[in-house]
């Protein structure tokens, strides 16, 4: 909390993984590609539709909710990774029908197949200028 004077910026850990809010009050959200022909969603974004082969994909926000298709609990640390074991790695089937690969750090021991989960965004690192670098993660839908 020593840098109160200069407000930190928040940025995605890597460009394109999600969209930061442009106006106050907006929330960050995952950005997928949606096929204008067949309606299939893909995350991360891509150019050619894997379902119908056309190049009519457009950026489309994801609502952020889905179900755990499957998961594992990682106990072996990947050297140099920002997330420290133990944590869950999961494939989430989003309500829009696409997969999102994610980590689950909150209540990772309670992750289960078909569990309802939602996206959230959290600081995972800082860049050289002291900006916060954010990633998406998922957690159980509460209530």
């Amino acid at each position: 909390m020593t840098q109160e004077a200069s407000p930190r910026k928040q940025k995605p850990l890597k460009p394109g993984i999600f969209s930061m809010p442009e106006k106050p009050g907006e929330k960050p959200h995952l950005v997928a590609s949606k096929c204008s022909q067949c309606g299939t969603y893909f995350y991360p974004q891509r150019v050619v539709c894997l379902n119908c082969g056309t190049e009519t994909l457009k950026e489309a926000p994801l609502g952020g909710r889905g179900k755990v298709y499957t998961y594992t609990i990682a106990r072996q640390q990947l050297p140099g990774a920002l997330v420290k074991v133990p944590y869950a790695i999961a494939i989430v089937l989003m309500e829009e029908g696409c997969q999102v690969h994610t980590v689950i750090t909150e209540d990772y021991e309670k992750v289960a197949v078909d569990q309802d989960v939602e996206v959230y965004f959290e600081k995972v690192s800082e860049d050289a200028e002291g900006n916060d670098l954010l990633s998406y993660k998922f957690r159980a839908v509460k209530g």
């Binding site: 850990l13 499957t70 050297p79 140099g80 197949v113």
Partner: protein, 385 residues
């Protein structure tokens, strides 16, 4: 898929010699040292000389550039065609597949294929951390066993499979490797040892993971019509299939993508005019133990969801109805990535010839199979004697 009519028009291709350098950790040996031993063993097994070899295909994963020229150069410089072949952990089986094309088409009569790897200890990681690493790596998702673990978790949820059946795969593999002098590990372990070992990616424990390994493998292949020139008993490549997963949103994807091995197995069985019931011995890609269960199901040895029970009841044992990974598999024989595909074939050749010694399966097997996966690309081969 390959055109069956075209396949049947090609010359029959067989393996007449196989050789390995013992798998393990060989810090004082070079890649050339490892492959030279394997190549000399394969030539001796075939009763061939290096001057008989008309072309070479060399499989390796890490630092592949120039490997083939260097390793074949260990035995001589005769001006032959040498290609380097990379398909991750399926590199050397891909080399053999290419050899079936050039021999089958009549371009060459006698070809040698090799596989080699010298690996670092610990996790196989794509690059490592640091700001330049991809998002999925920085966020801890590129953990290799996680792919197998996630399909295992889904299998457990869908079919009620218990983690212990994956443990039993590791018990069986280690038991078989105790009878294989070329294997990296000859350690008899109990189910309790496996289940109490350190968890790597739930439900996968340390003993359910293939190790990092140094090793090499080699095979001499020729047209069946010239096999009489060699003393090694020919084992025919009766069919193969190779492919990658199809797009499906409800799939773990990669090496363990749901359904694609079943598709390739059907194609390979069709080319070879066999069915799953004919496969008397199989070497499958158990980079992590659950992989063997998935392969047993998708190769058609049992129904989907029953692979765990199949292993638990001993049906994949050396004395079972479909012995699987009789040489210890990737887990216990070791998994020097580029060398694994031909090592699997070397075991099938030994089993079909009846020369596998203490681990020989009973009943004079006539048909065998290999299943070798590399980053979501798979080669399935059917062999006949």
């Amino acid at each position: 898929m390959a055109n069956k009519k075209a396949w049947k028009k090609m010359r029959e291709v067989c393996i007449v010699g196989v050789g390995l350098h013992k798998f393990g950790r060989w810090p004082d040996k070079s890649v050339g040292d490892l492959v030279r031993v394997a190549m000399q063993a394969a030539l001796a097994d075939a009763g061939a000389e290096f001057k008989d070899i008309e072309a070479g295909f060399s499989g390796r994963v890490q630092n592949i550039t120039g490997t083939g020229q260097a390793v074949f150069g260990e035995l001589g410089q005769r001006g032959i065609l040498i290609d380097n072949v990379e398909k991750a952990c399926a590199s050397s089986s891909t080399a053999v597949r290419i050899a079936t094309w050039v021999i089958g088409a009549g371009l060459y009569d006698v070809v040698m294929c090799t596989g080699v790897e010298k690996m670092q200890r610990g996790l196989v990681t794509a690059g490592g951390g640091g700001p330049g690493a991809p998002f999925s790596y920085l966020m801890g998702m590129n953990l290799m066993p996680a792919e197998y673990a996630m399909r295992a978790r889904r299998h457990m949820a869908d079919y009620g499979t218990k983690a212990e059946v994956f443990g039993q795969v590791a018990v069986k593999s280690h038991k078989n490797a105790c009878m294989n002098p070329m294997a990296q590990y000859q350690i008899d372990i109990s189910l309790d040892d496996v289940m109490k070992a350190r968890l790597i990616a739930d439900p996968i424990t340390l003993y359910m993971c293939s190790p990092s390994t140094d090793g090499a493998s080699a095979a001499v292949l020729c047209a069946k019509e010239v096999a009489h020139r060699f003393k090694g008993q020919p084992i025919t490549i009766a069919g193969w299939a190779s492919g990658t997963p199809e797009y499906h949103p409800r799939s773990v994807g990669g090496d363990v993508a749901e359904g694609f091995i079943a598709r390739l197995a059907k194609e390979a069985y069709d080319l070879a005019d066999v069915g799953p019931e004919d496969i008397k011995v199989a070497q499958v890609h158990d980079a992590f133990a659950p992989g063997e269960v998935f392969a047993i199901e998708e190769l058609g040895f049992c129904k989907a969801g029953e692979g765990g029970k199949f292993v638990w009841e001993g049906k994949a044992d050396i004395t079972g109805e479909h012995p699987v990974n009789t040489d210890g598999g990737l887990e216990s024989r070791g998994h020097p990535m580029g060398a694994t595909g031909i090592a699997q074939m070397a075991e099938i050749v030994a089993q079909l010839r009846g020369t596998a010694g203490p681990r020989q399966i009973p009943g004079n097997p006539k048909v065998g199979l290999t299943h070798n996966v590399g980053v979501g690309g798979c080669n399935v081969f059917v062999f006949k004697k």
